[in-house]
Symmetry: C2
Subunit: 237 residues, 2 copies
DNA sequence: TAGTGGTCTAGACCACAGA
DNA sequence: CTGTGGTCTAGACCACTAT
């Protein structure tokens, strides 16, 4: 290395990532500016070009840099940053909060698919799927209300499972890995029934998470999770 | 290559990623199983070990594999999958939906920080920050209600900006890149004032996004965004 | 102690798009 | 056409940890 022999964050690529990030944050390199090319940075930091490439790709994935062949690398003008959150297994989520987990199956049946769910899954309305409704508790307090449709054709073996003592979330996570998922967050006023099951008042605002997953056979499951009032789902960059 | 000369997804690493993903989804490799080590896979696919490493690291980041030195690589037992969503610039979000964007500044002042916001920012209650309230419209319909506190010490130059014609979101994105952000989603019943500004009814459930950002100086801004009823924020894996 | 993943290197060839 | 990033290779050394 040249005089740039401060302690690297962890590896050389990580150090370069942090150093480039710092130059952007401190406006040494301003939005829209072209930054030196990989070969130049490799020379400056005394590393191989592949190392610089790895560092810059990370920042490009984060949205801080725009990289194009021939045109070079520029500091993003409108950095569209991304945030990540983990899709929790409800039991682990509750236990991580130091509470004891329990759940109650309200209904399990084979039913014809209502129109809205059919659209979500890309199946025909009226097709018969498995329909589950359950409540998940932390220290006996209702935490989450689950309303789930499962496509048995995508999950061989599901027909024989009894979810009274096993939670569908975990069974699916272990037995039906998915290729693709779609999630949406929204808000909805609690209905009379939701309110009773979640031990709250009708019209109370609830955070709703809808999730649909697919594997190579087709749609696996569509679930609507309604959270107890006051719960906030968090994410970081 | 050996007989494995089907069309690669795009590069060799991408092809290996997809092939390993397929083996997991189709249960050729089951949850908890140890998979062949990098050297063995490199031999099988006829590539360098670094290429296998890149492919497997991607799957480990996704949560599908657990990798540990000496212990090898295993298919994750409880795959904690991650989802990503992009943090939108409200104007781009509205224009991407084919609507014309406008916004209205309701108030801009220097005010003492209330306790809840102080906690969110890690500053002292009563400290004087810049407080903004604004509504963002798509085709003249209210879309989002913004309530923002900005720490002028972290953003030199902010004191001179007039946000009547410039939207704070964009100014900050362009002028105050952040190092770290925290986001939470929650739901809340509209108050009388919220309802009026969003052109809806009091008690209507609203999706709330709270976001706080930091740079190397300290906290930059904390903002509470309330969305018009019916809006759903989506994410994918 | 030894087997595994983590990282880096020097070099190469290629794909893309700007001039 | 040519400069830039995208990707791959063969090899090396290191860091961790299971045994």
């Amino acid at each position: 290395m040249t005089e740039r022999d401060t302690i690297p964050a962890s590896g050389k690529a990580a150090y370069i990532t942090e150093e480039v990030r710092r130059r952007i944050i401190e406006k040494e390199w301003r939005q829209g500016d072209r930054i030196p090319d990989e070969a130049a940075l490799a020379a400056e930091f005394g590393v191989a070009r592949a190392t610089v490439n790895k560092a810059l790709q990370l920042l490009a994935d984060e949205g801080l840099l725009d990289r194009r062949r021939r045109a070079g690398t520029r500091v993003a003008v409108n950095p569209v940053r991304k945030a990540t959150f983990s899709i929790p297994i409800v039991r682990e989520q509750i236990e991580a909060a130091g509470k004891s987990y329990s759940h109650r199956l309200i209904s399990q049946s084979r039913s014809p698919l209502p129109a809205r769910r059919a659209e979500q899954l890309g199946l025909s309305p009226g097709e018969v799927l498995i329909h589950l409704r359950a409540v998940h508790y932390g220290d006996r307090q209702p935490f989450q209300l689950e309303d789930r449709w499962i496509n048995p054709r995508a999950v061989p073996g599901i027909e024989e499972v009894d979810f009274h003592h096993l939670n569908a979330n975990e069974w699916l996570v272990r037995n039906a890995p998915y290729l693709r998922a779609e999630l949406t967050f929204s808000a909805s006023n609690a209905g009379v029934r939701d309110a009773r099951l979640l031990d709250t008042e009708p019209e109370q605002a609830l955070l709703i998470l809808n999730r649909t997953t697919w594997n190579d056979i087709g749609p696996i499951t569509a679930v609507r999770l309604a959270f107890h009032p006051g719960y906030a789902m968090s994410a970081t960059t």
